[in-house]
Symmetry: C2
Subunit: 210 residues, 2 copies
């Protein structure tokens, strides 16, 4: 979810080597996937001398797990910043978060998509280790959305006959599907449609006439 963790932060030349490697790995894996990202490419992109890699990471797998954790943490920081704006109603905060995510995705030319979705697709059947970590990230995100939807119910913004956890899971999975389609069609339209259908059809819309 969310196209990428660090698009706008840039990379500091003074960043510690390990952080530079992880950041370079994130950028490369977002576009090329895990298998298609070579350690040599990462070293080159990070401007780090050959041989440094195995000083910091016992294996490419360990490196991949760190990249996932880094992306997930950056995403959660952005999410919680938006959802923490408690002067706004819960669903308004969520909409603002989506607006920001969409703007970031467009700035990147609708490339990359979501690292968690990408690697889930690529690695879920191949590695139990990656599968477990990716599932943990998705579950964590779902819980954060579920909390928001419970809050929305408490203030009468979301119909109470829906299970907040189920709504959160549907929301998250559908968003991942929309990002995937937006990446293929190189257009933000599928994400805009996701917002419209989700807010008007599932979250807000269904309360009409009840």
């Amino acid at each position: 979810m969310a196209e990428q963790a660090t698009t706008d932060t840039g990379r500091s030349a003074k960043a510690p080597t390990k952080a530079a490697l992880v950041d370079a790995g994130l950028h490369l894996m977002l576009e090329n996937g895990y298998h298609h990202t070579g350690i040599q490419d990462v070293l080159q992109a990070a401007g780090v001398p050959k041989g440094s890699f195995y000083y910091y990471f016992p294996s490419k797998e360990a490196f991949g797990l760190e990249v996932i954790a880094y992306f997930a943490a950056a995403y959660v920081a952005r999410l919680e910043q938006c959802l923490g704006e408690t002067t706004l109603s819960p669903l308004t905060r969520l909409r603002r978060h989506l607006d920001e995510t969409l703007a970031r995705f467009e700035r990147r030319g609708c490339r990359g998509g979501c690292l968690i979705g990408n690697l889930s697709q690529e690695l879920a059947d191949q590695s139990a280790l990656f599968g477990t970590q990716l599932e943990a990230v998705l579950s964590d995100w779902r819980e954060r959305y579920a909390r928001l939807f419970r809050e929305a119910q408490a203030v009468g913004e979301l119909r109470t006959d829906l299970d907040p956890q189920q709504v959160a899971e549907f929301y998250l999975n559908s968003f991942e599907g929309a990002v995937l389609r937006a990446k293929v069609s190189k257009s933000p339209a599928p994400l805009r449609l996701f917002m419209t259908m989700m807010f008007d059809g599932v979250l807000h819309g269904s309360t009409a006439g009840r």
Copy 2:
């Protein structure tokens, strides 16, 4: 969409070599992706002598495009068989198609997922050729669903304030997201949730009280 085109058909030892290669390629690419499927693996899985590959396909890319076309055609054949059952209402046909898809996915141990979603994730940013073909498949599927939703509106089964094409796109993208999640969590639960939320919340449910 739909986990795989040929799970239940098996492979005939008498199948022509080209078809055997495409079928083997489909099985391997579903689990391992495009880059991680070697031509040697395909030849071995198909039980075809080395050297045959380039007799049939000018490149691995050309082979990949044929595998996509094969998967898409098999999916459409299954879809249209279900949707053509006009003794049933449009949404009942759709639900039956989903039930069948879910059963196939479970029989495969929730592995593989949808080749079109998988390769979209893997190749959309890397190859305009693959991107264009994958987008064409998704657009074709969307049109088929849109036709069904128009029919559902005509018989009063779907609210008429929804744009059938938008519903179809949202449906398709959300389904791809649900398949992705089901593949990571190795459980059909995300697909069951997709059915519930889509039918009760978006398609049927929203007519309540209108």
